[in-house]
Amino acid sequence: MIEMRGVNKWFDDFHVLRDIDLRVAQGERVVICGPSGSGKSTLIRCINALEEHDEGEIVVDGITLDDDSRHLSAIRQEVGMVFQQFNLFPHLTVLENCTLGPMKARGLGRSDARALAMELLERVRIPEQADKYPAQLSGGQQQRVAIARSLCMRPRVMLFDEPTSALDPEMIKEVLDVMVDLAGSDMTMVCVTHEMGFARTVADMMYFMDDGQIVERAPPQQFFEAPASERTRTFLGQILSH
C-alpha cells in the first residue's frame, strides 16, 4: 500500500530523514514512535506530500509521488490525515467541515455528502454536534470530528500525526477508542503516537525512529518485550516508567 525507498530529506543543513525504507501492506496498522525531533512527523507528512522529500521514492497504492500534480491530488484523495492540532476549519460547522472535501474534491451532491458525513459522525459518536462550530467543542470532540472529516473522503490509508498529544488527559481515551474501532475495520493505518497501550492493542508492526533514521522495526510483542536496540530500550524505559 505504501512504499518508501531510500527517502532522504533536509531542512537546509539539517538532515531530518536518512535513508528511510518503510513498507505498509494493505490493512496493516503501523505505529511509529521515537523522541521528539526524531523526524517521525516529517516522515508521515511526506506520505501525502505535505512535506517534499528530496531523495528516494514514495509509492502509495501504486501511484508514485513526483512532480506531477495529478499524482499528488490522486494520492491525497486516497490518504486521510489527522493532525496534532486538529486543523478543523473554524468558519464552517462540524457538518460542513465533513462535507467540504467530498463535495468539492469528489464532486458529491449536497444530500449525499450530508448523509455520508452524518454516517461517519455517528461512527465517531458525535452526530448531535453536527451543527455546532469547532470552537464550541472540546478538544476530544474536535479531534473526533477531524477523524470523521478524513473518513468522509473514503480514504484507503489513514495517517495519524500525534492525534492525542494536544489533548487533556481525560479526553485521550475517547479519541483512542475511535481509533481502535477504526483499526477493527481493516483500515490501513500509520500512526505517530506515544500511546503505548494503544500501540500494543492495534499495531501489526512497530517502528522506532531516532535522529532521522529508523532504528528498529519489530512486531509489538518483540518490540516491547525484547527490543534489539539499546536506544529503543532507553526510550521505552523513559516513557513507560511512570
Binding site: 501525502n48 491525497r76 490525515m81 492540532q85 478543523l88 468558519h91 467540504l100 472535501g101 468539492k104 474534491a105
Partner: protein, 253 residues
C-alpha cells in the same frame, strides 16, 4: 467633560478673535449657493455638491481597482513564480518610496501622454488605485498568511486543490480580518483624492480651491469642506464597524 467643552470653546473663541483681528468679513449667507442654486424654480447642484459627487466617484472606482491590484499583487507575492515575486517587489518598493504627489505628476504628465490617454479623472483614479493597491496587497497578504498553516494542510488532506482551498477555506477566514484595514484604505482613498486637485480633477478640494479663488471666502469654504470630509469618513468608519459586528455575530452564533 466640562473641562473639555471649555477647552473647545476657548479654541473656537481664539480662532474667532484671530479672524476678527484680520478684519475678515464673514459672508456665511453666500455659502448655501455653493451647494445649490435655484434657476427657474429648478434646483441645480452647486460646485461643492458636484465636487463631492466626483470625490465619491473616485473613491468607488478607486476601491474596485485598489482591491483588484492588491489581490493580484498579494497572490503574486505568495506564488512560487520568480518573475511574479520580483515584479511585485519592484512595484511595492517604487510605490512606497515615492510621494503620492510625484506619482500623480508622473501619471498625469508622463504616463498619460505616453500611453495616449487623455482623461485626468481616470488617470487620477488609476494612479490612486496603484498607490493604495500597495497597501491593499499588504493587508490581503497579511490576512492570508494569518490563517494558520494547518488550514492549508487540512485542505490538502481532504483533497482540495490550491484554488479550492483559497475559495472555501482560506479566504472565508481571511476576509473578516481584512475588513477593518480595508476600511482604512477606503478612507485613505477619499483623503488622498484631494491631491488630484493638483492635476485639474474637479473633485471636492478643487472646487473648494476655485471657490476660494473666486470669492476670497477662505474660512467659510474650508470650514465647510473640512466637515464635509469629516462626515464622509466618519460615516464610512461607522458603516464598517457595523459590518464587522455583523460578521462576528454570524460567526459565533
Amino acid at each position: 467633560m466640562a473641562q473639555f467643552l471649555v477647552l473647545m470653546g476657548g479654541f473656537v473663541w481664539l480662532v474667532w478673535r484671530g479672524v476678527a483681528e484680520m478684519d475678515y468679513r464673514w459672508q456665511w449667507y453666500r455659502v448655501p449657493r455653493f451647494f445649490y442654486k435655484e434657476v427657474d424654480g429648478e434646483l441645480i447642484a452647486g460646485p461643492l455638491v458636484d465636487g463631492l459627487w466626483v470625490t465619491l466617484e473616485i473613491a468607488a472606482w478607486g476601491l474596485v481597482f485598489t482591491l483588484l491590484i492588491g489581490l493580484v499583487v498579494a497572490l503574486l507575492r505568495l506564488s512560487d513564480s520568480i518573475a511574479g515575486k520580483a515584479l511585485a517587489t519592484v512595484y511595492l518598493e517604487v510605490v512606497r518610496n515615492t510621494p503620492l504627489l510625484v506619482q500623480v505628476s508622473i501619471f498625469y504628465f508622463v504616463l498619460q501622454p505616453l500611453l495616449g490617454f487623455n482623461n485626468p479623472l481616470w488617470a487620477g483614479i488609476v494612479c490612486l488605485s496603484v498607490f493604495e493597491g500597495a497597501f491593499a496587497s499588504e493587508v490581503i497578504r497579511a490576512g492570508i498568511t494569518s490563517v494558520a498553516r494547518g488550514q492549508w494542510e487540512a485542505s490538502a488532506s481532504v483533497g482540495l486543490t490550491r484554488l479550492q482551498a483559497y475559495r472555501y477555506v482560506i479566504l472565508p477566514q481571511a476576509v473578516p480580518l481584512m475588513l477593518p484595514p480595508m476600511a482604512g484604505i477606503l478612507i485613505n482613498l477619499i483623503k488622498h483624492s484631494a491631491i488630484l486637485s493638483f492635476v485639474a480633477v474637479f473633485e471636492l478640494t478643487t472646487e473648494a480651491r476655485n471657490l476660494v479663488g473666486d470669492t476670497f471666502m477662505s474660512f467659510e469654504v474650508w470650514f465647510v469642506v473640512g466637515p464635509m470630509y469629516l462626515v464622509l469618513t466618519i460615516t464610512l468608519s461607522g458603516v464598517v464597524a457595523w459590518l464587522e459586528r455583523r460578521v462576528h455575530r454570524g460567526r459565533s452564533a
